[in-house]
Amino acid sequence: MYANRAAGTAYVLPFIFGLAAFTLFPFVASLLLSFSDYQLQDPVSTASFVGVENYGAMFADRTFQKSLGVTFLYVFVTVPLKLAFALFIAWVLNFRLRGIGFFRTAYYLPSILGGSVAIAVVWRYVFAGDGLLNQAFEVFGAAPANWLGEPGYAMFSIVLLRLWQFGSAMVIFLAGLQAIPEDLYEAARLDGASPWRMFTSVTLPLLTPIIFFNFIMQVVQAFQEFNGPYIITGGGPLKSTYLLPLMIYEETFKYFNVGYASALSWFLFVIVALFTAVAFWSSRYWVFYAQERGEGK
C-alpha cells in the first residue's frame, strides 16, 4: 500500500470521471427522459414532463407485451440450455484426454465470432428458405421449413445462435472443474460413490460459485441481445423475435419516441436488476464457497 492518497485518487480519477459522465449521468437522464414526451428530431428543450404517461402507455401497448413475452421466452430458454450444455461439454472435456486444448479452442472460437455481424449473416443464410438447413433437411428426406417466415420457427434461429456460443461459459466451467482436487474424487471413490453421486456430491457443490457467476453473466447478456434479432429476423415475423433491446432501438431511431423508449429501457433495467438481486439473495442458500485449499484464510 502506498501512503500517498492524493496520487491514488489521481490514478482512479479517469474512472470517476467516466463513471459520472458515461454511466451515472446517462442513468439518471434516462429516468428523467422516461417521464417526458421528447421526440428525437427536436432539440431537447422541447421536451415536456408527462409523468408516468409513458409507463401507462407501455403496459397497454400490445407490441410491448409481445416483446416482453418473447424476451422472457428467449432468456428462460437460452440461459439454462446454454449453461447446461456448457457444463456438460466441460465435464466431457475434463477427462485428461489428449487434444483437450484443440477441442477447447474449437468450442471457444464460435463464442468469439458469434456476436459478430459476419456470423449473423451466415446464420441468416443458414435459415433462409433455400438455405443450408433446409438443404440439409432435403438431403435427409425431411420437409424444409420456413424458418424465418414462420412465427414459431424464427425464435429457434436466434436461440440456436446464442447456444452456438456456449464456448465462453464452457471454458470457465472447465477451469472450475480442473480446480477441484483429485483427492476429493478419490476419497469419494473409496467411500463407494457412483459417478453420478460423485458429480452431485463433489463436483456440483464446488462448482456453485462458478455456476452462479456464469448464470448472472448469461442472464444479463441475454437480456441485451440485439444483433441476432436485428440482422437475422428483423424482429419478425409478426414480432415473434422482437426482443426488448430491438424495440428500444426502433422506438428511438425509427419512431423517434425517445420518452417512450427511455421508459422501456428503464423497465428493462429494473427487470434485470430484480433478477440479479434475487439471484444474489438466493445464492446464500445454494452457493457454497469452499475455503482455498490448504489455507485457513
Partner: protein, 298 residues
C-alpha cells in the same frame, strides 16, 4: 493412498469390475461426443469459408462445404462491394476505430486498477462496488442519453463516441481483472522499487506492468475481439457509408437487394472474421488465462 496409486491420475471414477474396458468405453464415448459436437459447432464456419470460394449458384446446390468449382469470384466482386468504396475502406475504418480503442482501454484500465489495488483511496469500497455494478448493468438503459450527449457535442458521424468512453476505464470487467493480477504481485517487489528510489508511477511502469504483461495482453485481445463485433454502437453513431466499419458494411450487403450474391457476402464475412481467428490462435493462452482469472478467482 495405494488405491490412488493404482488408478492412473487420468481416470475419474470407474465403478464396476472391468476397469480397463470401462475406461475404453468412456474414452470412446467422450471422444465421440466431442468430435460430434465439434463438427456441428465448426460446420457453419467451415461452410462459410467454403462458400466464399464457390460461384454463387453452387451455394444453393449442395450442402457440402468443399467447392466443386472453386473460384475467387466471391472475393473479387465482394471486395468491390456494391457501394462506391471497396471493402478495404471498411476494413480500414474498423481498424481506425479499434486500434485507438484498445490502446486507451489498456492504458486507462491499468492506471485505474493500480489506484484501486495499491492505494487507500477515499471511498474505495464504494467505487469498487460501483465498478462491479457497471459490469452487470444492462447498457441499453444508457444508450439514449449517451446518444443525445454525443449529439450535443457534435460527435455524431465521427469515430469519437466509439472509443473516447473507453479512455475512462468504462469497461469494468477489464479493470477488475487487472486488479486481481496486480494483487498477486508481491508487495515486497514494489517496496524494493520504492527503496530503489521509484515514485509510484515508476513502480507501475518499471515493475508492475512488466510483471502483469500477460493480463494486459489479455485485456487488449478481448477488447479487440469485442470491438470487432461491435454493431449497435457504430449503427447509431455513423451515418456516412464511407465511415462504416466492417460490421455495418456487411449488414449493408445483405440489405441491398433480395437477390443477394451470397458468395460475395460470405467471402467478405470470411475476411471480416479472419483477424479475430488469427489473433485468437496466436494468443490462445492469454484468452483462457484471462477469463479464468477474472471469473474463477474473482
Amino acid at each position: 493412498m495405494n488405491v490412488a496409486v493404482l488408478a492412473s491420475r487420468a481416470t475419474p471414477p470407474a465403478t464396476g469390475t472391468t476397469g480397463e474396458g470401462r475406461r475404453t468405453l468412456q474414452l470412446v464415448l467422450r471422444y465421440g461426443v466431442l468430435i460430434g459436437v465439434g463438427l456441428l459447432m465448426l460446420y457453419p464456419l467451415l461452410w462459410m469459408v467454403g462458400a466464399a470460394f464457390k460461384p454463387n449458384r453452387e451455394i444453393f446446390d449442395s450442402i457440402g462445404f468443399w467447392p466443386q468449382s472453386p473460384t475467387l469470384e466471391g472475393f473479387v466482386e465482394g471486395w468491390r462491394t456494391g457501394t462506391e468504396h471497396t471493402f478495404g475502406t471498411y476494413l480500414l475504418n474498423t481498424f481506425e476505430i479499434i486500434v485507438p480503442k484498445v490502446i486507451v482501454t489498456v492504458i486507462s484500465s491499468v492506471v485505474v486498477a493500480f489506484g484501486f489495488a495499491r492505494f487507500r483511496v477515499p471511498g474505495r469500497r464504494v467505487l469498487f462496488a460501483l465498478l462491479i455494478a457497471t459490469v452487470l448493468l444492462p447498457k441499453s438503459v444508457l444508450l439514449i442519453p449517451q446518444y443525445l450527449m454525443f449529439r450535443e457535442l457534435g460527435w455524431l458521424d465521427t469515430f469519437l463516441p466509439l472509443y473516447v468512453p473507453a479512455a475512462f476505464a468504462t469497461e469494468g470487467f477489464f479493470v477488475f481483472m487487472i486488479v486481481q493480477f496486480m494483487r498477486s504481485v508481491p508487495l515486497e517487489m514494489e517496496e524494493a522499487a520504492v527503496i530503489d528510489g521509484c515514485n509510484s508511477l515508476q513502480v507501475l511502469l518499471y515493475v508492475v506492468v512488466p510483471v502483469i504483461m500477460p493480463a494486459i495482453i489479455s485485456v487488449a485481445l478481448f477488447q479487440f475481439m469485442w470491438s470487432m463485433n461491435d454493431f449497435l454502437q457504430p449503427l447509431i453513431y455513423l451515418s456516412s457509408v464511407e465511415k462504416y466499419p466492417v460490421s455495418l458494411a456487411l449488414k449493408l450487403a445483405i440489405d441491398v437487394t433480395e437477390a443477394t450474391s451470397w458468395n460475395q457476402v460470405l467471402a467478405m464475412s470470411t475476411i471480416a472474421v479472419l483477424p479475430s481467428i488469427v489473433l485468437f490462435y496466436a494468443a490462445q493462452k492469454y484468452f483462457v488465462e484471462g477469463i479464468t482469472v477474472g471469473s474463477v478467482k474473482g
